[in-house]
């Protein structure tokens, strides 16, 4: 699914744009475009670190790429790191679910981020969103309803509709519900491929992005 030259990944310290060995700057550009369209351009305003897996880019090519990212995708490059080809690739070290869980409450801006509380049930045809942070719903999200958040989504009731967490590409975002029986879940740009529960399990569950960008669902105990 990811293209072989460019990959966009969320790590503990934020988004990384990984650039692997390639032939030309044009090829890199095209790969970035592909990767961005896969992300549906929901990353507007984010900042990225560029991980150069190859020292092939010239100084002026780098400058060109930075301005291109800024202009076309509204992405700010916060730093550039060059990796030795032999070093373990950042992709291999992509966060496992475990790592995300451990860092979840301390990193990724969860504690500095605003959250919005919705004190009612969201019914079919209604939608609520909060791109600036996390959403907490004191009620249900019914089938045909939709919730979207830049951060996490916590439903203190049944989630029966659609939920999209990590709107801005924060892949560490999670979705928690007392009854997790959604129509569709989305984290960052990844949609659940397998159907989630048909029936409530009788305990709260958490959905998050696991290895291979698959949304996994587990019993929720605590952060």
């Amino acid at each position: 699914m990811a293209n072989s030259i460019v990959a966009l990944r969320a790590y503990r310290d934020g988004l990384h744009l990984i650039i692997r060995p390639h032939l030309s700057i044009a090829e890199v550009e095209e790969a970035i475009q592909q990767e961005m369209s896969r992300m549906n351009q929901t990353l507007v305003g984010a900042s990225v670190q560029i991980d150069l897996k190859c020292p092939l880019l010239e100084e002026e090519e780098m400058t060109y790429l930075k301005s291109k990212l800024q202009e076309t995708y509204n992405l700010t490059v916060r730093s550039i790191e060059t990796f030795d080809e032999q070093a373990p690739s950042p992709i291999a070290a992509a966060p496992t679910t475990h790592e995300i869980a451990q860092t979840a409450n301390t990193q990724n801006g969860r504690d500095s981020e605003p959250s919005r509380i919705i004190p009612y049930t969201i019914r079919s045809g209604q939608a609520e969103g909060f791109p600036q942070g996390s959403l907490i719903i004191y009620g249900d999200v019914n089938s045909g309803a939709e919730v979207r958040a830049g951060g996490d989504i916590v439903v203190l009731g049944a989630l029966r509709g659609n939920a999209h967490a990590g709107l801005n590409g924060r892949l560490s975002a999670v979705i928690i519900a007392m009854d997790l029986v959604p129509v569709q879940l989305q984290i960052g740009n990844f949609i659940n491929r397998r159907a989630i529960n048909q029936k409530p399990r009788g305990y709260p569950e958490i959905a998050r992005l696991g290895v291979e960008d698959v949304i996994i669902v587990e019993k929720f105990v605590k952060f």
Binding site: R123, G125, Q126, D140, S143, A158
Partner: protein, 264 residues
């Protein structure tokens, strides 16, 4: 000042017209003055279910167009005292009417009747806004299937947004046997999703179809389970506290199944 109640659903064919006709007749049998209003302009059939189609001279559209007085457009049901019908025009369509016009009619009817029951068309468009424009309260009708329930949920959201309160639920075409065999949602599941008060459960009853065809609402036949359900619903509408016996009528088997699933 009487109560103006819109009977609505979102999804079509779930029993709005059947419920309006039977609830209206039942309320009249309890001694109330009732007018049932067909708001399904262009696709009217409340008159057929009530057996009054041959006596319609004027419709709500004639009243709006000042062709006749409101009182003259009401068709009296001769079988019971205090029950009348205001028919919808069959040759117009829903956009020919404004919500304010419907509201004015309902409010005027409310001055002279205990209950104004408005039979809403399916959908969430103009027909629905017309039907609910004058309503103080709403009855949402649904059948126990996921698509009807999702549409009911949509309608409840719209009614809440319009400030219509209370909103009560009629669960129609309910079959305890199917629930028992696990192939139909039970009332708890439905109420869990919709989260509004239950006014009553009407069972699947073949008598509904024969009564529709004959133009005699079911509630005139005391024995039918559907008739009894609508009579109980009418009593609840008038404020009587009547338990919902359907809850106990669930099959023995389903109770056991529930017991097991609940305690798992």
């Amino acid at each position: 000042m009487g109560k103006i109640i819109v009977v609505t659903s979102g999804k079509g064919g779930v029993g709005k017209t059947t419920s309006t006709a039977n609830l209206g007749t039942a309320l009249a049998l309890l001694g109330k003055t009732v007018v049932v209003v067909d708001a399904d302009v262009g696709l009217r059939n409340l008159d057929i279910v009530m057996g009054l189609e041959s006596r319609i001279v004027y419709t709500s559209m004639d009243v709006i167009e000042k062709q006749c007085e409101l009182s003259k457009a009401l068709v009296k049901d001769r079988r019971v005292d205090g029950l009348t019908l205001l028919a919808a025009s069959q040759k117009n369509n829903k956009d020919d009417m404004q919500p304010e016009e419907m509201k004015a009619i309902c409010e005027k009817l409310g001055e002279t009747h205990d209950y104004v029951l408005v039979d809403s068309p399916a959908g969430i468009e103009r027909g629905f806004s017309n039907a609910s424009a004058g309503a103080d309260e709403a009855i949402v009708v649904t059948t126990p299937d996921v698509s009807a329930i999702r549409d009911a949920d949509r309608i409840i959201g719209l009614l809440q947004h319009a400030g219509i309160e209370p909103i009560n639920l009629i669960l129609n075409r309910f079959s305890p046997q199917l629930v028992g065999s696990g192939s139909m949602m039970d009332q708890d599941d439905v109420l869990d999703i919709l989260n509004i008060d239950l006014l009553g459960i009407v069972p699947e009853d073949p008598g509904v179809i024969t009564s529709t065809n004959r133009g005699i609402p079911l509630v005139y036949e005391d024995a039918s389970p559907g008739s009894q359900a609508y009579m109980r619903i009418a009593r609840r509408v008038t404020g009587q506290r009547i338990p919902i016996p359907e809850l106990e009528q669930r099959g023995f088997l389903s109770n056991i199944v529930n017991w097991f699933t609940r305690n798992r």
